[in-house]
């Protein structure tokens, strides 16, 4: 059993690995539940001991993996404040935003075994909430697409170099159209507090989706 401290170089990496693996499952599940992609590309799998739907489409899977691969260095350094999965209508206006807020509290030391089993149990609750969130959300208009936004603690331009880890997968500062949503309805899904990471998930839903 290894003991990790916040000062360990390894520690940030372990937390980032856990979070990115979780975000991958969560993004796949959001795309399935909100019907952004045809249900035929999804397959039932088991993650965190609960059934989830994961895409089998190689291009989409690569896109999600590349996105998370770029975000990981920011999570390692605790530089990412919010990761937002935005669902957009045909006109590229956001209709729903799944906001994952995260912060890493200061910590003295923790055993790596406790860390894994405990945090995975907590993450399961997020997955369960995502899988039933369609009950509280209105249907999305047809032809929706998605994007991911990363809100950093410091100005985005200062983190541009850190996120640019894949040459063919460039990042830019998002424009107002992708970010802004008029009078969103806020739907809290889950808040968790653990020794290594605090995370909160809520959905912002556009009042009039059909426009």
């Amino acid at each position: 059993m290894t003991t990790l401290t916040r000062q360990d170089l390894n520690f940030g990496q372990v937390v980032a690995d856990i979070l990115c693996e979780f975000l991958e499952v969560a993004i796949h599940l959001i795309l399935y539940v909100r019907e952004v992609y045809p249900s035929g590309i999804f397959q039932k799998r088991k993650k965190y001991s609960v059934p989830v739907q994961m895409s089998c489409h190689p291009e989409l899977n690569q896109y999600i993996q590349d996105t998370l691969h770029c975000i990981k260095p920011l999570i390692v350094k605790n530089d990412a404040e919010k990761i937002v999965v935005v669902i957009m209508d045909k006109e590229h206006h956001p209709v729903e935003r799944f906001v994952f807020e995260m912060s890493q509290p200061p910590l003295v030391s923790i055993s790596s075994d406790t860390l894994l089993s405990h945090v995975e149990q907590l993450l399961r609750a997020f997955i369960l909430k995502i899988s039933v969130c369609d009950a509280v959300l209105d249907n999305n208009p047809p032809g929706c697409t998605f994007t991911v936004l990363v809100h950093t603690r410091e100005a985005a331009t200062r983190n541009m170099e850190k996120i640019q880890v894949i040459k063919d997968f460039p990042w830019i500062v998002a424009d107002e159209q992708e970010v802004h949503m008029r009078e969103p309805r806020l739907i809290p899904l889950k808040t968790m507090t653990s020794d290594i990471v605090k995370m909160q998930l809520y959905v912002e839903e556009r009042a009039q989706k059909a426009s």
Binding site: Y37, E59, T145, L149, V150, D175, T191, Q200
Partner: protein, 63 residues
């Protein structure tokens, strides 16, 4: 207060009474936390996003 306990015949009644008594006892509750976003939206800090757009998959492609 009268209590009517519905139970299955094969269960042990004295033990059930004990469990049921515990279940209806009052217990200390914590005040409900109010949900609040930790990092409210700020126009001065725009987020980062990939320039590449995700693939479009038509239902015909799957079938």
């Amino acid at each position: 207060m009268d209590v009517l306990l519905h139970y299955r015949r094969q269960n042990n009644l004295p033990q059930l009474l004990e469990i049921a008594e515990k279940a209806i006892e009052k217990f200390p509750t914590r005040p409900l936390p109010r949900f609040k976003p930790w990092f409210p939206h700020s126009d001065s800090k725009p987020p980062l996003t990939p320039t590449t757009i995700p693939p479009v998959i038509s239902p015909n492609e799957v079938a």
